[in-house]
């Protein structure tokens, strides 16, 4: 969809009608040192049927804008200090809560990033929807129920009557987000604010939800404010874009012209930092296109990980979750093997099995030695060769230790060097990951997300490992910082010859960093090959679907039509004795392995 696509309006409405007008909005947070501005001088008009994207990185104030419009700022700590927000004829700033409640949901609705936390877990979907409708309209139970079923049907959920009786945890993430959309749109609000509506969803599910939002918007001519950090989503959805940074508007432009000719430096840099599929080939092959059968570092043979599902008072083994099912793969020295797939496909479980955090069946060999055959001491020694960098660096660092202590920790554990040597090594490592030597005396919370991830990388490097597992290591970072962490990883590889097992759901990032790619689906690998093979010539239908679903940060790009899926992903839970059919990979030539379908 491009800006030229006019929304199909119901007769009698004025397409240029402004439904929400924000003028000179200022929001500030109360802190010890006085008022700290979070948003300064924000103005925009939102017209009927239009999609306005507010894009920016974390801390840009985009979510605060949404909360301000909804009257949901955490007052009195954060409050509007100036400006106006007009919804039609109603001024929203300073409106008493009782009146705001009537407007919220009925005239201005919101969907959140994480649908599981936004839904009440102990109420059925049906009751929640019915209640939301009846809170605003004097309908009888039966009438409200009819409206509910209509709303559920409108978001293309099959068997609406059955769904109404289900609880949120019984639905998948994508289904839950659809329910949220149904709830938001059931009362036909003038304005829908979608705050990162697809960030928590898998890429194929994201595609479905975005398509659905677009369709519904056209049908209802609702004005949408789309808040996102993902320039791909912006390009696909928005008519106009506001780029924000540190609470200020950097640039406002129609989507097509913003992408074609960004005016501001920051916008340009932001767009340049966005990883794109297809950009990967332009980079020189990174020093490690090893010949086939090159030096193998890690060899996994028929590795399975199953978690027991116990039931009843005596914890009887009831079924098993087949998280990883007989996976075989090799990681060569100095290469980056990317493992891609959607949530629940078992990619993180493989990583955890490799570094010994979950027990596995099958054989994992590291440098020719099988993990299972080693004694305690040898296992501890082998740990030095395998390190892991997690997704959330704040969670992976002990908040009560200084950065110096944290990076020194592995050296202390393994008794490497004298205290002075250890401190010297910490300084080297900090320098290596571009952090000042002073950082050693500070605590993790004093750093930004990107810097924390550098600390994690420094800690992983301390033992001079031969393999670092990066488990979604850049997923939580803003794109600009993501790009720099990826550069750092690449530099370190060129310098030390370390191998990476790079686990990610982000196809664009994977294409940027990987030498070889393995695609996982339901605990098994369905396709594996070099980057060029998998991205240039995807053979398995799942790989193709993954690639097609990635939003392209270019409004002019042709939209690849995807079959709209309504089915659910099959469950990896199997009763005892049963299991999924094993997929045997077939070599399509030059090491491009594909599971037959």
């Amino acid at each position: 969809m491009t800006t030229a696509t006019a929304p199909l309006l119901p007769a009698g409405t004025d397409p240029a009608e402004v439904v929400l007008a924000v003028r000179g909005l200022q929001v500030a947070a109360r802190s010890d040192s006085g008022l700290m501005p979070l948003i300064e001088d924000l103005s925009f008009d939102l017209r009927r049927g239009e999609t306005l994207a507010i894009a920016g990185e974390s801390g840009s104030g985009k979510s605060i804008t949404a909360l301000a419009c909804m009257g949901l700022l955490p007052q009195p700590a954060v409050r509007v200090t100036g400006g106006t927000i007009r919804l039609g004829d109603t001024e929203l700033t300073g409106l008493p809560e009782a009146r705001m409640q009537r407007i919220r949901g009925a005239r201005i609705a919101m969907i959140f990033q994480e649908p599981m936390t936004a839904l009440n877990p102990v109420m059925t979907i049906g009751r929640q929807l019915t209640e939301a409708i009846r809170a605003h309209e004097p309908l009888g139970l039966a009438a409200a129920r009819t409206r509910t079923i209509e709303a559920i049907r409108a978001v293309r959920i099959s068997q609406p009557e059955r769904r109404l009786a289900q609880y949120p945890h019984e639905l998948s993430g994508g289904m839950r987000q659809r329910v949220m959309i149904a709830m938001a749109l059931a009362l036909r609000p003038d304005v829908l604010i979608a705050d990162e509506p697809t960030t928590a969803l898998d890429v194929t599910v994201q595609r479905e939800v975005l398509d659905l939002l677009r369709d519904l918007q056209r049908e209802l001519s609702t004005a949408v404010i789309l808040i996102t950090h993902d320039m791909g989503v912006v390009a696909e959805m928005a008519d106009r874009v506001i780029v924000m940074r540190r609470g200020r508007v950097v640039e406002t432009a129609p989507t097509a012209s913003l992408f074609a000719a960004p005016q501001d430096d920051y916008t340009r840099q932001l767009l340049a930092a966005v990883p794109r599929i297809g950009a990967g080939q332009a980079r020189p092959a990174q020093g490690s296109p090893l010949p086939d059968g090159g030096d193998t570092l890690v060899r996994m043979t028929d590795v399975s990980v199953r978690f027991p599902v116990r039931q009843g008072v005596f914890g009887r083994l009831h079924a098993r979750v087949h998280a990883v099912e007989k996976v075989s793969l090799d990681i060569r020295r100095g290469e980056t093997l990317a493992l891609v797939g959607e949530s629940g496909c078992g990619k993180s479980t493989i990583a955890r099995a490799l570094v010994g955090l979950v027990p596995h069946e099958g054989r994992i060999e590291v440098g020719g030695k099988a993990l299972a055959d080693l004694g305690r001491a040898a296992t501890k020694a082998l740990r030095r060769d395998l390190q892991i960098v997690f997704q959330d660096p704040m969670a992976a660092l002990d908040a009560r230790m200084t950065v110096g202590e944290l990076i020194r920790e592995p050296l202390v554990i393994h008794g490497i060097g004298t205290p002075d040597e250890q401190r010297a090594r910490v300084r080297d490592l900090l320098e290596r990951v571009d952090l000042p030597a002073l950082a050693a005396n500070r605590y993790p919370h004093q750093f930004s997300g990107g810097q924390r991830q550098r600390i994690c990388i420094a800690r992983a490097l301390a033992l001079k490992p031969r393999l670092i597992v990066c488990d979604e290591s850049v997923a939580a970072l803003d794109v600009s910082i993501q790009a720099r962490v990826l550069d750092l990883l690449r530099d370190l590889q060129a310098e030390t010859g370390v191998s990476y097992l790079f686990i990610s759901h982000d196809m664009a990032v994977v294409e940027n960093i990987s030498d070889r790619v393995a695609v996982m689906y339901l605990g098994q690998i369905v396709e594996m090959g070099s980057r060029a093979q998998v991205f240039g010539d995807p053979r398995h239908s799942y790989t193709r679907r993954l690639l097609a679903a990635v939003p392209v940060p270019d409004p002019q790009a042709p939209r690849r039509d995807m079959p709209r899926l309504t089915g659910e992903i099959p469950s990896p839970v199997w009763p005892i004795g049963a299991g999924p059919e094993r997929k045997v990979l077939v070599d399509m030539g030059a090491g491009h392995m594909v599971a037959p379908e």
Binding site: L270, L386, S480
Partner: protein, 300 residues
Amino acid sequence: MTANVSTSPEPAAPLDATPPFWRRLLRRRLAVLGLVVMAVCVLGAVLAPWIAPYDPNEQHFDGLTIEGAPLPPGAMFWFGTDLLGRDLFSRLLYGARTSLVIGVVANGAALLIGTLVGVTAGYFRGVTGAVLMRFTDLMMAFPALLLAICLAAIFSPSLWIVAMVIAFVNWVQTARVIYTETSSLAERDYIAAEKTLGAGHGRILFRHILPHLVPMLIIWGTLGISTTVLLEATLSFLGVGVQPPTPSWGNIIFENQTYFQSAPWLVFIPGAAILALALAFNLVGDALRDILDPTQQGRD
């Protein structure tokens, strides 16, 4: 985190040299107040034989009115006298000895047992954890007072036995809370990261789990002071605690509670002492919690 697309480093909080522990503690007025109250209690208890104006158990003839009623606070008996004509101030000083032992030792022992059980069960899980926690649940379901009475009846009552009995009854809540906290900590990524670095159980438990439990232990520790002091009073009221005439703050209240209306000082003054002690520990504990938490640094 701010967006820096260019090569400039990401900004971080400025580095302040952290002042030494004592200075940071003394900078907080409430904490200093708490320390002063604690010091007064401890000094009073230790120096009781020297500063008490009378023997705590001596029944003064002039300590009662003609009708035999206790004297209100006055020049001769600062805090008044009790029903037997004993000097309340002296009894409070000597009672501080009992109550401090109960509040600090019994309470500390309860915390220690609770932490050991909770951490072991929460970190190792499995059969050990299940057995420990079922035992904790059993203890919780059992009426604490009944158990304390049974135990105190078996062993001949002395101050230390009473302290141990109270510890044995009071550890369960701590264990339950610490168990929950530990099992959630054990699932965190940073513990997984430590495991992949090769850290053993001891290192993980002592360096990475226990420090994170400190805030919770401080809260439970300070909450426990008044409950233990009063539990001791209950026990001595029932005849299985510290034996009369040895005074404790709790048993002064219990002995005199029926005369609450005619001689309110007999209840209010020891009550205020218990309150002051618990509050003092609470204030100091609060300050310690903030000081020991690196994420709170630079905020004082």
